[in-house]
């Protein structure tokens, strides 16, 4: 039995002239969460659909828990759950009917399917809405039902394609909690996202996909370290003292800050730099109107990774 829950070698998928995947390798250990990060059109969904047996690759192989997704798709489907953009629930049915439908399609008896639906509805906080049509659900409820529907068969590997895109922070948090609970039970999760923050919060390992290729695969910490840093942004109450402040900041951080309008922006490797900067400016009597420490954004990640690629190419 393979220790790898998901493995893929050289996956290629073309749509006419467009190459969606251009040789993707993946290895995901059992019981871990892997975050697949990339902008729209990077090939995330294509990769997920291939791994979830929904799409056949033009080249390369992939296996889920040792079952080849193209030649042993039926076995693989017994062990996986899929939720997200592409595998969804029926808006015309109620939440309960959707889950019972899935149970019945898994050849559960009527009774077992109904019982499983009731359990999942309770687990996902949907009991009150269980008998309402899904089209009346909020975005967050819908995604929770989506996730619940992918878990009816107690899958060992779950694919989540942008599970929280378009959700408000509260709904996103609720969904994160459900995903964490899933992982605590030992389920392997592959999730795609556009948000570095989400991958950072949930994933043991992050794969960055860009233009159909794996641009980087590493732990969130290592990835961020590799990307350099966080950014310290600040604005003074008195803009006239910006030059003076820039010099003070440079003295503390060791790098001259960039000036964007009234703002000073400087990369820092250590979060502890912030109090040091505050103290120094305070000592100089320069009042700070606004100060913040930013994680690298997805834009930063991509700029950094694509630059690296161009340099090595």
């Amino acid at each position: 039995m393979s220790k790898l829950a998901i493995e893929a070698y050289g996956l290629v998928k073309r749509y006419g002239e467009v190459t969606a995947l251009d040789g993707v390798d993946l290895a995901v250990r059992t019981g871990t969460v892997i975050g697949v990060l990339g902008p729209n059109g990077a090939g995330k969904t294509t990769a997920v659909r291939i791994l979830a047996t929904l799409l056949r690759p033009d080249a390369g192989t992939a296996a889920v828990l040792g079952h080849d997704v193209t030649t042993a798709g039926h076995q693989a489907r017994q062990l996986i759950g899929v939720a997200g953009q592409h595998a969804s629930v029926d808006e015309d049915l109620t939440g309960r009917q959707n889950l019972r439908l899935v149970g019945r399609l898994l050849t559960y008896s009527r009774k077992d399917a109904a019982a499983r639906a009731t359990t999942l509805l309770a687990e996902f906080g949907l009991t009150d809405a269980a008998d309402r049509a899904v089209k009346t659900y909020s975005g967050g409820m819908r995604r929770r039902l989506d996730l619940a529907a992918s878990l009816v068969n107690r899958p060992r590997v779950v694919f989540l394609d942008e599970p929280t895109t378009g959700l408000d922070p509260v709904a996103r948090g609720a969904l994160w909690d459900r995903i964490r609970a899933l992982v605590a039970e030992g389920t392997t999760v592959l999730l795609t996202t556009q948000y570095l923050e989400e991958a950072d919060a949930l994933a043991d390992e992050i794969v960055v996909i860009d233009h159909g290729r794996v641009a980087a695969q590493d732990t969130p910490t290592a990835l961020k370290r590799r990307l350099g840093s966080q950014t310290l942004d600040l604005r003074l109450a008195d803009p006239a003292r910006a030059d003076e402040a820039a010099a003070l900041v440079a003295a503390v951080v060791g790098t001259a800050p960039a000036r964007v309008g009234e703002r000073l922006s400087v990369p820092v490797t250590d979060g502890a730099m912030m109090p040091a900067v505050v103290r120094r400016l305070d000592d100089a009597g320069a009042e700070i109107a606004e100060i913040a420490l930013h994680l690298p954004s997805l834009d930063d990640v991509f700029r950094a990774l694509t630059t690296t690629k161009e340099l090595t190419a």
Partner: protein, 251 residues
């Protein structure tokens, strides 16, 4: 098998959830019937009663033509909304979503046929044959619809969205239904149109339905209709299944 039935059940639940589409199935035929009988009936047949006798079997044929479109739009919507992938991500037979769509459609057709015949009888339509030929007429209409539904499956899988399916569907259905003997006897049509009517499969279906419901020659039109059905299945089922495989695995 159970899985296909489950998906048919889903189609029925959806129908119940959508009062509008159910109304479409139940009242659509009734409204058509009333309009045609009372608007055109007198002018075409001299009396509305006579026209009702003439046009009711025609309506049965028209409805099967119109209703089959539902398979195409339903499949297309499932693909667009992601339900198709949900079903396919489960260990179900790959053909299950397709069979489910067709199964749900058969149920809808049966409801539509019962509704139409009920309204027809209420308006004063009378069968001049027995219960068996009438049942045979319904079965033939249903069979024709099923054979034709492969065309819609193909369109539903090949076209980008449900609107496109409906749009192209109308373009196909209107000539087939109006350029036939569904609504009027064909005597007054110009030669070129009469020639088209001669080869229009709907015309043979009509002859068969009228024969089975009102009496008259039955054997030949039924055989020709069956031949057309076999033809539809032979040509469009393989194309639709190929499109299905393509859509299932490569896009």
């Amino acid at each position: 098998m159970t899985q296909c039935l489950t998906l048919t059940w889903r189609g029925i639940v959806k129908l119940r959830r959508h009062p509008a589409s159910l109304a479409d199935v139940v009242f659509g035929p009734a409204i058509f019937l009333v309009l045609f009988v009372y608007v055109f009936g007198g002018a075409i047949s001299g009396s509305t009663r006579e026209y009702l006798q003439f046009v009711l079997p025609g309506m049965l044929g028209l409805m099967t033509l119109l209703a089959t479109m539902g398979v195409g739009t339903a499949l297309n919507q499932d693909i667009e909304k992601g339900v198709f992938d949900r079903i396919r991500s489960l260990p179900t037979p790959r053909i299950a979503p397709l069979v489910g769509a067709i199964g749900a459609d058969v149920v809808r057709q049966v409801i539509a046929i019962v509704a139409l015949l009920g309204f027809g009888l209420a308006l004063g339509f009378r069968f001049s044959t027995g219960p068996l030929p009438v049942l045979a007429a319904c079965a033939l209409a249903l069979g024709f619809a099923l054979a034709l539904s492969w065309v819609w499956v193909l369109l539903g899988l090949s076209l980008p969205n449900a609107q496109a399916v409906q749009g192209l569907g109308a373009v196909i259905i209107f000539p087939l239904s109006f350029a036939s003997n569904i609504f009027v006897p064909t005597d007054t049509m110009p030669g070129w149109l009469a020639a088209f009517v001669q080869v229009n499969p709907v015309r043979h279906l009509m002859d068969a339905l009228r024969g089975l419901m009102l009496g008259g020659p039955v054997a030949q039109p039924v055989l020709i209709t069956l031949a057309w059905m076999v033809g539809f299945v032979a040509v469009f089922a393989p194309l639709a299944l190929a499109a299905y495989r393509r859509r299932s695995l490569t896009s």
